[in-house]
Symmetry: none
Amino acid sequence: MEEERDVKTILIVDDEEPIRNILIHNLGKEGYNVIEASDGMTAVDMALEQKPDLILLDIMLPKLDGLSVCKRIKNSMNVPILMLTAKDGEIDKILGLELGADDYITKPFSVRELVARVKANLRKVEANINISGADKGEEKKDAKIVVGELELDSEKFEVKVRGEIIDLTLREFEVLKFLATQPGQVVTRETLLEKVWGYEYYGDIRTVDVTVRRIREKIEKDTSTPQILVTKRGVGYYIDDAN
Amino acid sequence: MEEERDVKTILIVDDEEPIRNILIHNLGKEGYNVIEASDGMTAVDMALEQKPDLILLDIMLPKLDGLSVCKRIKNSMNVPILMLTAKDGEIDKILGLELGADDYITKPFSVRELVARVKANLRKVEANINISGADKGEEKKDAKIVVGELELDSEKFEVKVRGEIIDLTLREFEVLKFLATQPGQVVTRETLLEKVWGYEYYGDIRTVDVTVRRIREKIEKDTSTPQILVTKRGVGYYIDDAN
DNA sequence: TATGCTTGTAATATTTATATTACCTTTTAT
DNA sequence: ATAAAAGGTAATATAAATATTACAAGCATA
């Protein structure tokens, strides 16, 4: 029978001290040995030197972003990496770019859930079970979304309207994509701010209106009577799939 | 017209007077009604008595610490609480988050950021009140209501009558939805005003009639002999589910 | 560091929803 | 049948949400 192995070490990488403290406290309480880094460079160094059993990695980092950190570490060692993200759009990057992240969790996360995920990932490694973050969102493979005369390609970040390629900025693309993944469903501005801009965003709600207008300028025949990206007054916006 | 309607009240809880003053000044400037408490006990009392729309709560307090205050208040009312924390000794914050604090901000904070966070949190609450559970992703249970030849979809804010999609305004939709959730049940105008328009609404009762009429124009074959949204003379309105 | 592109902000204009009012019609009770 | 009550309607006024615009700030790139 296998005895309990020595204490597991977890490396936390986040530039916000409060977040690190939350994690240190809770994971420490669970009996893990916790080490921390506040920027990407340091994270890579610590990972290679101390060889933690698991890494919690924020995607937004100074000096070297989380995605690059993930790639570099995965390049030279096989440690489970759990990514922290602030908005839904970032999940695509994690899953799509084949960085080798093993799991992800969106902020704001419940501490209980995070601890559970950490445990699960450690367990799986120990049992040598091959896991991938993809088991969370199978349908994420839908790189292409087609709604009416709208086509989105999340891999190419390309949009076609009536067959014609349209050039959207990243922000515009993400808003359109979020709406297009659930055609007909009315989405509030608040939801868009949270899912596209990120929960940490605290700006004017009208920002959404302006972005919507810019999208419309590019995809609608007549901006004054939108046929695709439609307003539901008093509620928010939706993609009209009635066609 | 009066201007007392939606002035939001914010309770500031901090033992340092200078901090309180900064907050009072800045939030007051933004048009909020600001009340203050300098210790935990008073804070709980004031919260329960005055029912502020949002609470700014320092974690370090005399008499009763911020965490306990948070817990007590959250226990008896559902108000957004924004925790203020000093930059060191942050471990406690975790607990704050687990206790149901909605957000936190670390000292020293930028006033601009704090005001933005306050706004964001109030906005979130408001969005949830106005469009009840619409995109909270919680209970999809009552997303669709079908009564006779009437179908309501609360996610799409869409109404179908005899298969045909009808375009209702938000107010119309909410009245119809309220009635449709309890088919056959007669609802008074007063109840509708309270449930759809809101507690604090004091306006003409005729408003209901007019709204009902507009709904009828859209869903009834013949407005002079309503088959779906029916009047119960002397009482109010109801959805006829006898069909 | 200059340049162009993206994004956010704030002020204003426009559109749409909603409320209110006055008056009309129907029902009810006597 | 008639008055009183209840409800309906349409026109208009008001309020609110949204659209638009111009500009500024940020960022990356050359």
